[in-house]
Amino acid sequence: MDPLIFTAIPVGLVFGFALSRGRFCMNSAFRDIIVLKDYALLKAVGLAILVSMIGFAIMDRTGVISVSPVTFWWGANMLGGFIFGIGMVLAGGCASGITYRTGEGMVSAMVAVVGLTFFGLMTSTGVFSPFINYLRSATTITLADGANLTLANVFGIPYYILALAIAGVALILWAIFARRGEKESESVSLGEKIFRRGWGWTSTGIVIGLIGILAFYTSTLTGRSYPLAITGGYLSTAKTLIMGQNLMTWLPIMVMSTIVGAFLAAIISGEFKFRSPGPKTLIQCFFGGCLMGFGAVCSGGCNITHILSGVPQLALSSMLGGAFIILGCWATAWFMFLRPMRGL
């Protein structure tokens, strides 16, 4: 066993800690563009993507990592993304959301994780896999040399130049147009801010973006050339438990450590507690988790693989998959929340 896989433990612990403190969930981030008109988490997601993009660009240029985008299977990227988006609204959390809330003691999230793992396995190796394989092979597009599509190689621009340009322009525009006025006026100690309180979107975005960079680096050391992901980690863990073969590589160890990190964060802040909604909502969460499991495997990634890790690599598959995750989320949120809330 490669001892470097244990680099996944600190990465996962810090990731889980940051997810919990930052309440980092893309379901909330995207859904609340239309439902609550609350953009704090959306800004955290945007900032994390830009920070990771800069780090990936520098590491790719210096040869520390090499970008490895998910394959552009447009049919599978779109269908899987849309179904994943529906699932995360039903489950009340995206892949990272249900992971950190499992650590915080929320039974609804645990049930969603079980659903995600169950249907993820059925899709990757079980009854749905022939359909997925057909859909993928029928809609694959690569470059002539077989390389997976990115915004950079499609336009023939070196990745690091385009990534730095996009991140730079986006950050400058953001700084110019961002409205000032969100002030943290209370004077509390740094320790109190880090361990006891919820983080603001700026700290959350920067920390999660940096963890993405660290993840790409350490994961590459073990031969897995990809940054953060979630769903694959659950699938490998479940296979290890069910089939008895040891598949605990960097990713599953990272995901399990993420739960522990969120658990520790909740214990320290006094927010840990086992709590559950009624049976009807639990069934809804399980069903949502199942859709997420199918969607993530079909699309080639959950919201973390696509939006947090794939978009900074400028992968076309992840941009398309991510866009359809958002569309699925909006369509479902409109039915579930916006119609009943109309006139508010």
Binding site: S28, R31, V35, E104, M106, L344
Partner: protein
């Protein structure tokens, strides 16, 4: 819990999933009369942070946010106070 604020209605959304605490608080406030007080019992951290912010944005007045136990909080909101 002794406080002088009279509560007209209580909403218990403990254990609920995102974003039900937020949505149910806001829709309940909207149905209440101006000046009535809603008590929200909530244990989902993101909602504890966002309910006061979003209620204020919609012209309700947050009277009190009180930590009860662990993640559990009690939020008192006066409906439509600033309308």
């Amino acid at each position: 819990m002794s406080d002088e604020i009279k509560v007209d209605k209580t909403l218990d959304v403990r254990g609920e999933i995102c974003p039900n605490p937020d949505v149910r608080t806001l829709t309940t406030l909207e149905k209440m009369e101006k000046g009535q007080v809603l008590e929200v019992l909530v244990d989902y951290p993101l909602s504890v942070e966002r309910i006061p912010k979003n209620a204020e944005n919609r012209k309700h007045k947050v009277l009190k946010v009180e930590k009860v136990d662990g993640p559990e909080h009690r939020i008192l909101i006066e409906a439509k106070a600033n309308k």
